[in-house]
């Protein structure tokens, strides 16, 4: 029990120090009525020299390579942690979280659908490099390079397991988010991932209140639930998961063979360790077969239903596009539903453009959302269907394994494995005792 005096002294020191938080008015800001000083915008990063973009790409490449080496060869959690700190500082606080591979997904999508948009080379590199490394080495990007993952990893204090069944449903969010981000990027409406990046406000030490609160919530949850954004929300992680399934090399808990000591069962804060599984429970087998057949037949239905519903919501989803919003505003003004104007509608009217042209353009965008909605909805239907099928398939495992898709390659599980200790020459052959 801490002595009361120590707590009191600690708090007193905090309060004294907090005087600084008021931003001691010893040096008040200049009176810029006389000058023409312009306050810099606090919410967007200042432009940087072009060469630094290429430096960033090189640093990314180096970090990915080092991460892969540390995770797969060195198998050192400590080293991975240090690299993770570096990535947090460099890609997070120093570069203020932009450009990041997660958001670059949208740039790439937009360049595919909009012939007038050329994705910068560096953005393309940021998008492709982690995918390439994942294809070969597993999710080493998530382990020690992604600043969003790093900040969450850092705040994890008291691990609370998320039930496996809940994880299945929660991971659906990431797929929906990816689909929505692709849809809105493809239609040129919005970069959803950037708009709702929860941690960018922390990296820039400023931001809108809503995003700050969102990030704060993720970090608070992250105190207890390992990397909630990475596991359940990250749209880029969806792609990494699929590539990681087929990666040439991957994380293994044991450096050689699994001795089934079970010590690693609770080692992973991200629920990525799969326990050995024996045969299908006999009493469920027939029922499970039927269920699987039904789900397979249901898959196209789910895709159609998802596509139909999402395309049906096109008039709402299309509102993400500023042209559609403007057209609806002009429409409201023209039909007397509102009496005043907005800056956007006043500016439009000042251009002298015909309103019918605007309506036609908005209708065209809605048509895009109709098509895109079908694809998006079908994708979500497909994901849901595949998940249900996957949950109906019983996989046998003999050893403890890190899930190919879910493992974030953090390396925490290594120290739990006695074979690892053997490798590190810290333990003799196991005697069955701890």
């Amino acid at each position: 029990m801490m002595r009361v005096s120590k707590i009191t002294i600690g708090l007193a020191l905090s309060l004294i120090l907090c005087g600084i938080a008021l931003g001691l008015e010893q040096f008040p800001p200049p009176d810029f009525v006389e000058t023409e000083h312009v306050m810099p915008s606090p919410t967007t990063p200042n432009p940087r020299l072009d060469v630094y973009e290429y430096v960033d790409a090189v640093v990314l490449l180096a970090a990915l390579g080092l991460s892969s080496y540390l995770v797969l060869r060195k198998r050192s959690r400590r080293a991975v942690f240090v690299l993770m700190l570096f990535s947090l500082v460099y890609f997070g606080f120093w570069r203020e979280g932009c450009v990041c591979p997660i958001g670059s997904t949208q740039n790439v999508v937009l360049s595919v659908f909009d012939k007038d948009y050329a994705v910068p080379v560096v953005v393309l590199v940021f998008f492709l490099l982690p995918l390439l490394f994942t294809l070969f080495f597993g999710r080493t990007f998530c382990a020690a390079v992604c600043p969003l993952g790093a900040i969450q990893d850092l705040v994890l204090l008291r691990q609370t397991k998320v039930p496996r069944w809940a994880e299945s449903a929660l991971r659906l969010i990431a797929y929906v988010y990816l689909g929505a981000a692709v849809l809105f990027a493809a239609t040129g409406s919005a970069f959803l991932i950037c708009r709702y990046d929860p941690f960018v406000s922390f990296f820039r030490l400023t931001g809108g209140l809503n995003v700050l609160v969102l990030g704060g919530c993720f970090l608070l949850i992250g105190l207890f639930v390992g990397r909630p954004y990475c596991r359940f929300v990250c749209p880029y992680g969806v792609i990494l998961r699929q590539l990681s399934r087929i990666s040439k090399w991957r994380v293994t808990i044991t450096p050689d063979e699994c001795v089934h000591c079970k010590l690693c069962e609770d080692a992973c804060p991200f629920g990525a360790i799969r326990e050995p599984a024996s045969e299908w429970p006999a009493q469920d087998y027939k029922k499970a077969k039927k269920r699987l057949a039904v789900l397979i037949l249901l898959l196209p239905v789910l895709m159609l239903a998802g596509g139909w519903m999402t395309s049906g919501a096109k008039r709402v989803t299309a509102r993400m596009h500023e042209t559609v919003r403007l057209a609806e505003r002009i429409y409201s003004e023209e039909t007397g539903q509102v009496t005043d104007t907005t800056d956007a509608s006043a500016a439009f009217r000042a251009t002298g453009r015909a309103i019918e042209e605007l309506y036609a353009e908005a209708d065209g965008i809605r048509d895009k959302f109709d098509t895109g909605g079908w694809i998006f909805g079908a994708f979500v239907g497909l994901v849901a269907g595949v998940k249900l099928i996957a949950l109906s398939v019983w996989r046998q495992r003999t050893d403890y394994e890190a899930s190919r898709a879910s493992c974030l390659a953090c390396g925490r599980c290594y120290k739990y494995c006695p074979r690892e200790h053997v490798r590190l020459e810290k333990l003799k052959e196991p005697t069955g005792e701890l």
């Binding site: 938080a21 942690f81 929906v176 519903m309 009496t339 209708d363 249900l388 019983w394």
Partner: protein, 994 residues
């Protein structure tokens, strides 16, 4: 670092490092510090968002005052100071936020270091589950996982459906246009929409124009408002709006003023296209300034052009619709041609350069969008004359004057109709038309009269006459069709229209910029000093009055109903009174209640003036077909249903509607049928434990008809909720009288006496003693008086009848007919003689009140009694039955009632039956009289029009195509009928003209 979640305290006993507590302390300190910093930052944020907001709102309000007080140094100084203070506070807040962010980051890092170290220093051993559970757990996880995915999908589906249920905007559905795209002839004539009014004639449509005022003493001046920026353009007026333009080197602006108060409602900025780098900056001709052309409006858009060639168009609320730059015109004295309007086309006479330059044009722009509709080159030099659109025969001509041609065009297409070569020099006067002639002026030289029925080049054939006794420089002519008046340098000359011979000349020894105007038989001339000379002009000039403004004037006046609007060099003046009572001149519009004549010329309550059911107008349509649309002027869907009848006042028609969710009042524009506003009346819901209210099916929520007095409009609903609104839809008050205890639902319409709302609130049985007569003050809703009534629930409506020199409020119910003094509620007389469910409203004529007992009798009562007149004042009783629902109608000689399709006509003098006619239909609407015709509207929406004296003789049957329960309302040349779903206006379509 080990992060196992299990805690085996027994195994971990004795394994805590000595640095553990230090690590914990560090974490606590870091957390506490971070929390405190967070609180400070939150307070900083809240302060900048909440506490500092009033100062910013104050700054915005002060800035909005600048146009009204541009020279107020105190105001400007306060604005600067406030602006500085706000900026300083904002900068400090940002600075604090930034510092706090760094401190917070530091605190969090300290916390994390401490917490991580503490966690790593307290080793925990892993505790995996037993083997036996594993298979079950895995199977359970799979099952629950599937259900969780299904649940997540269900939530997604719900989310998508809720999105789909949101508001949908279909751009293809433009909805009902708020107004017709352009005004009718009548609308245009009623207003002053462009330079020199309708057709550019300079003739006032109104004769009730003031003839006496003094701007220096304020006598006769209704208001005077400073115009923010100067200009020489003349006011234009549309309904209750006056428009001007103004400009200087920095701004080009259009202004909208309230015609009644002079308040500047809005300022519209027209962006000025600046000269390119290297180009000479533009300097306007001093006498012309930036804003000489007069604006033009059609009641939907108001458009202005400036000397720079910039054009801006706004709607009547000041919202900018579009703007254009035509380029800086090459004009010797600065561009000065005013705009003209044809339907929804803006017409611009854009003459510039020399004849041979070929750069002069006539341009037509679409009013709502600014698109160029057509553009015609003109073989003329720069001019300062304005185009006019004149109705000639059954078509229109757009007539223009310049050097050397007078050219007429067809406005819709821009094609040239005719041209005459007859002018030279700097043409500034605008042409005028009358009697098939167009009169064009060559300054200081001549007046030319041209016949307007030509085709092509008609110089040789269509000049009717030329008068070469000089002609005005700037001022345009004015003509009444007999004489033509010219004003040139103070010399007023009068020419005969027929041959151009001079009738007389008068040297007025003054200088005039403003063009002369005609008001009835008077001539109005406004000189540059602001003095208006009012005179007769036939057979000779005879000055009647001189009225000074006290300010110099360059612009021509605008005329409206009882008013003149004059622009001085600094201010806009309105001369006249508040809106005059049309029926009784002299009663100011701000009078709290209307005159008798006003009431009689409107349909302000159930069955019109006095509840008589008699139309004040005889020009009522007698032929229409709702299914083909013949004779239907407009038809507008009523949002929520009801059985109440329309009431009409001026250009407004009112209805009420109600359902379980809403009780509403609707206001429609009688010209277009557009729903102008909807007023919601709050429904007082049943208390907890009370049964929810279910109205009687035939009655619904909204059967009582509303009332209006031209100032307020009031409605009562079956729930006993009452709401009162002004004419703009602003709710003045609402009240709940409580749910009336009424067998078939409350259905008594309101009555109105002056500005007192009269409510016959009969409920319960005779002995319950809960029936009341309630009088509420129209503007405030306060109870003026209240009288208990010894009657049972009834469905009859009260009437206010003028009897002799006074008014009586007459009511019928079981068992009494009671008359009150509407001013104070004093009971005048009562008569016991009715029984049952009294629904028909009484009527009055020739000293007799006629009350009906359903299916039983009609009683005629002399209305001159006092006290209980049961034994003494029954004139006659006819016991051959009586209507159930429909109220009777009488012209003073006969009285007609309608019961279950049986029309019965009785003599007023003694109640004997004259005739009966079975109409073989069912009627809920009460019969009405229009002149010597009877109008009866059946439940199927078929109106039978018939003569009723000496016998019934059907003249016509007109179908609406929709069922009707409500009685019709009659106005000037119109009938308003409420069907189940729509409100119809039956009348002639006005001819559409600019």
């Amino acid at each position: 670092m080990s992060e196992s979640g299990n805690d085996n305290s027994s195994l971990n006993a004795g394994s805590v490092s000595p640095w553990y507590r230090t690590a914990i302390a560090t974490a606590v300190v870091g957390a506490a510090f971070s929390l405190i910093v967070c609180l400070f930052m939150a307070a900083n944020y809240g302060r900048s968002r909440v506490i500092d907001t009033p100062a910013e709102l104050e700054l915005l309000a002060l800035r909005a005052e600048i146009p009204n007080r541009p020279d107020d140094e105190q105001l400007l100084s306060r604005i600067r100071q406030l602006d500085l203070e706000i900026r300083q506070k904002r900068a400090r807040a940002i600075f604090r936020s930034r510092r706090g962010s760094y401190l917070l980051l530091g605190g969090v890092i300290v916390f994390l270091i401490g917490a991580k170290c503490a966690d790593s220093l307290k080793k925990r051993l892993p505790a995996p589950p037993s083997q036996d559970d594993r298979q079950k757990v895995q199977a359970r996880d799979a099952t629950w996982g599937r259900w969780a995915v299904i649940a997540a999908c269900a939530m997604l589906v719900l989310g998508v459906f809720s999105l789909m249920a949101g508001s949908r905007v279909d751009f293809a559905d433009k909805g009902e246009s708020p107004l017709s795209r352009y005004p009718s002839i009548e609308e245009v004539k009623r207003n002053w929409p462009s330079f020199r009014g309708p057709n550019g004639s300079g003739i006032s449509a109104y004769t009730n124009i003031p003839t006496k005022w003094d701007g220096e003493t304020g006598d006769g001046i209704l208001w005077k408002t400073k115009v923010p920026l100067g200009g020489n353009n003349s006011p234009v007026v549309w309904d209750d709006r006056v428009f001007l333009a103004g400009g200087d080197a920095n701004d080009l602006q259009v202004y909208g003023f309230d015609a009644n108060s002079g308040r500047l409602l809005w300022t519209g900025d027209v962006t000025r296209v600046r000269p390119k780098p290297g180009e000479e900056p533009f300097e306007p001709y001093e006498a012309t300034g930036y804003s000489t052309p007069t604006v033009a409006t059609n009641g939907r858009q108001v458009c202005a052009i400036f000397v720079t060639g910039d054009v801006g168009c706004f709607d009547l609320t000041g919202r900018k619709l579009w703007q254009k730059s035509l380029g800086l015109p090459e004009s010797a004295y600065g561009y000065a041609a005013s705009l003209a309007i044809y339907q929804d086309m803006i017409l611009i006479q854009f003459d510039q350069g020399g004849i041979d330059d070929g750069i002069s044009e006539l341009i037509a722009l679409d009013g709502p969008t600014g698109k160029v509709l057509w553009r015609k080159k003109r073989p003329v030099a720069n001019s300062w004359s304005s185009p006019v659109v004149a109705g000639i025969g059954d078509k229109f001509q757009l007539i223009t004057c310049a050097d050397p041609w007078v050219i007429a065009y067809d406005p819709p297409s821009g094609s040239e109709l005719w041209r005459v070569e007859c002018l030279a020099g700097d043409i500034a006067a605008t042409p005028v038309c009358a009697n098939g002639l167009t009169f064009a002026i060559e300054p200081y030289s001549k007046t030319v009269a041209i016949r307007t029925d030509g085709q092509g080049e008609v110089t040789e054939t269509h000049i009717a006459w030329t008068n070469e006794d000089g002609g005005p420089d700037v001022c345009s002519s004015v003509t009444d069709g007999e004489v033509l008046l010219n004003m040139a340098d103070g010399l007023l000359s009068c020419l005969k229209v027929s041959d151009g011979t001079m009738m007389w000349e008068q040297d007025l020894r003054a200088y005039f910029y403003a063009s002369p105007s005609l008001v009835g038989e008077k001539l109005y001339l406004l000189d540059d000093k602001g003095t208006m000379l009012i005179s007769e002009y036939k057979p000779k000039y005879k000055e009647l009055a001189k009225c000074r403004l006290g300010e110099e004037c360059r612009a021509s006046p605008a005329f409206a109903d009882g008013r003149i609007y004059i622009r001085g060099v600094e201010s806009l003046y309105c001369i006249g009174g508040a809106k005059a009572d049309a029926a009784k001149p002299g009663v100011p519009a701000t009078a709290p209640y209307p005159s008798v004549e006003e009431v009689n010329s409107n349909w302000a309550s159930f069955r019109g003036p006095g509840g008589s059911g008699i139309s004040a107008y005889s020009n009522i349509p007698a032929k229409w077909d709702g299914e083909t649309g013949q004779g239907i002027l407009w038809k507008t869907k009523v949002p929520v249903g009801g059985n109440n009848s329309p009431v009409v006042w001026g250009e407004r028609a009112f209805l009420a509607g109600g359902d379980a969710n809403d009780l509403q009042v609707y206001c429609f524009d009688t010209t277009s049928g557009r729903l102008l506003w909807t007023g919601d009346v709050t429904r007082v819901r049943p208390k907890a434990g009370e049964d929810p209210f279910e109205p009687f099916e035939d009655t619904g929520y909204s059967t009582p008809t509303m009332v209006t007095n031209g100032r307020q409009v009031c409605a009562i609903f079956v729930t006993g909720d009452v709401g009162c609104f002004d004419f703009n839809g602003k709710k003045l008050w609402e009240k709940s009288l409580g749910l009336p205890d009424s067998a078939y639902g409350y259905a008594s319409s309101l009555a109105i006496y002056r500005n007192t709302i009269l409510i016959q609130f009969d409920q319960g049985g005779v002995d319950d003693g809960i029936s009341e007569m309630i009088a509420l003050d129209g503007p405030s809703g306060k109870v003026v008086w209240k009288q208990k009534r010894p009657v049972a629930n009834s469905w009859s409506s009260p009437i206010v009848a003028g009897i002799g020199e006074t008014f009586q409020l007459i009511t019928t119910a079981d068992p009494y007919v009671i008359a009150y003094d509407p001013a104070d509620g004093a009971e005048l007389w009562r008569l016991e003689g009715l029984a049952g469910d009294i629904a028909a409203t009484p009527v009055y004529a020739n000293g007799l009140v006629f009350a009906v007992e359903p299916y039983s009798k009609m009683v005629a009562i002399r209305a001159d009694g006092r006290g209980d007149v049961t034994e003494t004042h029954i004139a006659w009783t006819n016991e051959d039955g009586g209507p159930d629902v429909c109220s009777p109608v009488t012209d003073g000689e006969v009285i007609i009632h309608l019961a279950d399709g049986l029309l019965t006509c009785l003599k007023v003098s003694d109640g004997t039956m004259l005739w009966e006619e079975d109409l073989r239909a069912y009627f809920l609407a009460s019969p009405s009289l229009v002149g010597d015709k009877l109008y009866v509207l059946d439940e199927e929406g078929v109106m039978s029009i018939a003569e009723y004296k000496p016998k019934y003789k059907e003249l016509a049957k007109c179908r609406l195509g929709e069922k009707c329960h409500a009685s019709p309302a009659f106005a000037d040349g119109r009938i308003y009928i409420r069907g189940f779903e729509n409100l119809y206006c039956i009348g002639e379509k006005p001819r559409q003209e600019p």
